[in-house]
Every structure is written in C-alpha cells, then in structure tokens.
Amino acid sequence: MRFSYYPGCTLKTKAKDLDQYARESAAALGVELCELPEWQCCGAVYPMASDEIATKLSAVRALADAKAADSELITLCSACHHVLKRVNGDMKSNDDMRMKVNRYLELDEEYAGEASVLHYLEMLRDRVGFDELKKNVVNPLKGRKIGAYYGCLLLRPAKEMQFDNPENPSIIENFIAAIGATPVKYPYRNECCGGYVVVEDKQAPKKMSEKVLNSAAKHGAEAVVTACPLCKYNLEENNGETGVSVYYFTELLAEALGLKEGGEAQ
C-alpha cells in the first residue's frame, strides 16, 4: 500500500516522535508513506470566514500535489488533518472558493477537491484493518489501561470531518484494543485541552486539561494517547496531580510492533 504523506511543521520539530514512530510502524505494516515534496505549513487552524482565501492556499497546494501523485493523502497531526480535510471539502463543494483559489494559484491543472485526505488512524482502521494490525503485534501491551484522548479537531464538525461519532467515538479505543491494551472510556475524552490560548494564558488550559486528566484517572486510565502535539503539550504541562502519562498513539503502536528501542520486545 502506497500513500502520500503530509507531516506538518510540528512533526519536524517538537513532535519528531509522533512522526518517527508512525513511519517505522507503517513500514512494518507494509505501508509506504511518501512525504509530499516541498509541502508548506497548513496554517494550523481552519479559517472559518467565507471570504478567507489566502490562508487556505498552502493547504490546497498540498492537496493538489497529492492529486498529482495519484494517491490518498495521509495526515497525522490532528490540526493538519482538520485543516486539509476541511479545505478539501471547500474545494469540492464551494464554487466561489474553488474559482478564486484556482485563479490565484494558477496550477498546471485546476484543483477541485479530487484528493482524498485520510488520517493515519483511519488508514489503520479502513485500509490496513485493526484485525490485520492485531496479527502484526509482537509485543501486546497486556494489562495496560489506556484512555483515548480525541480532543476537538479530529471529530468536529462531524459533518465535515466524518471521522467518527463525535459524541461517542470508538476508533482510538479499537486501536488500543488492537495493540493488546485495555481501552478506558471516560467522559472528557472529546473535550478541549485549552488549545492555542496557552500562548497567552496558561491558567485556562490548565483548568481544562486537569478536567480531562482527572476524568481519565477517575475511570482508571494510567495513560492517555493523542494524535495532537498541542493536546500533548497542554496535558503534560498540567498532569502533576493525576500521574496519568500522555503518549502519542504512534509510540504505543511502535512499542506493540516491537519497534521501540528499550521496549519490552527489544
């Protein structure tokens, strides 16, 4: 299986683990991830206003490159996935936006939302399959109680993201079960960590992240997994009291596949 791959800016800097474990795990599962050439930052937030054009162009360039490579585009960071998926939706369904973007970009070929954006987790679920993943696990994380932390950007708005049920998702719990751990459901798994507000104000995200972690701890989770570098940052900065560890889901995936240095399988 071959896919185009969009890592995004944070995966090249503060979140190298998220990227590295994903690449190694994909290779072990027979999935080839081809990084898009010369990709640009997606902008990290989806511009909601109907007259925002320039802020969507870098996402469209990545989407057009995926179309040119004739392969589905895999994303990993929740924010990149959110932006690319929604901008792609605009290019498909918003005539005015499509016309303006194409006139501005002057691509070799007009872009009209032909690419298909797939999150790494969706690739595991829908292309590899969790049953197949399970067969490749050499180091099942037996007895480990792991909570899924979805946050906001993968799930909402559900009619555009079409990732999972926004109020009762199951994809990450099913992933956790596939790598041999015990998924722990808790009420705050799809509530916000405090997001970018942390740049200005550490207190508000502290309150929100503590709610998430207290909720996870109360339901028996010893760790939570996320796909988002900003969620990981906010949760880790504020997990003093609960002792709940925060991992990228790809790190536990690599551990289960026996690829993590120092992991039990090594």
């Binding site: 944070t10 800097t13 503060k14 937030v45 906001c152 708005p157 109020e167 997001g195 507000v197 900003l230």
Partner: protein
C-alpha cells in the same frame, strides 16, 4: 439599529454565513463551552447581540481571544447556528483593522517555553493577528 450598525451586522453575517434568526435561545452553546468561565460575553450572547446589531461591545471584549475554536458549540447546537463562526467573524473585524492585531511577532519570544509546539504559535498567530 443605526445604519453603521446595520452595515456591520451585514458584514458579520456575510463573513460567517450564520443566520442568528435560527437560534431558539436554549443556551446549549454556552452550556457546553469549555471557556465559559473565562468569558465576559458567552457564545449565546454573541448570537443574540449580533442579531440586534450590538457588535461593538463584542469587538472590545476579551472574550474574542478566549474562544478555543473547539467547535463544541457548533457540533452541539440543535438548530445548526454555529456560534463559533460568528465569534471568528467578529474577531476578524478587529484584527483586519490596521493596528488591530492582538498578538504581534515581537511578543512571541517571551511567551515561549522549551516544550511549546510550533502548532501553538502558528494557531495563535492565525487567530490573534493578520
């Protein structure tokens, strides 16, 4: 509503694509908002105040910078009003003005710490300035 208020309201409605007339004032948007405690004006007030053309107090309020764009209000509104889009449009009214940026590049270094991901800075930049 004065002509200036009417004009500003039209602009916000056009930018956001929101119809505040659909709101049935159930308050679910504010009930589910994770930033509720921090806000002076809450999501349901953005909807009702824009509807009345009373946008200036919103433009001056810190509430603009406390919205997390988490889309909880959008997902959970039973009428599909999408308050987050209204908040974004009012925020844009402010930062599209010359000198209207809430965050400038020179403010960034002192806000950083060793672990803060690039994603946080890029997001804040996009939300707080033009």
């Amino acid at each position: 509503m004065t002509d200036a208020q009417k004009e500003r309201k039209e602009l916000v409605l056009r930018m956001s694509g929101v119809d505040p007339g659909k709101c049935m004032t159930c308050g679910k948007c504010s009930g589910t908002c994770p930033a509720y405690d921090e806000m002076e004006y809450h999501p349901h007030q953005f909807v009702s105040m824009v509807k009345k053309g009373n946008i200036e107090p919103l433009m001056k309020s810190e509430s603009l910078w406390q919205c997390l764009s988490c889309f909880a209000c959008m997902e959970r509104c039973p009428r599909g009003v999408e308050p987050a889009k209204l908040i974004e449009a009012v925020r844009l009214l402010v930062i599209r003005e010359k000198g209207g940026n809430h965050l400038n590049a020179q403010d960034i270094p002192e806000k950083l710490d060793e672990n803060m991901p690039q994603q946080a800075i890029t997001s804040a930049f996009r939300k707080y300035g033009k």
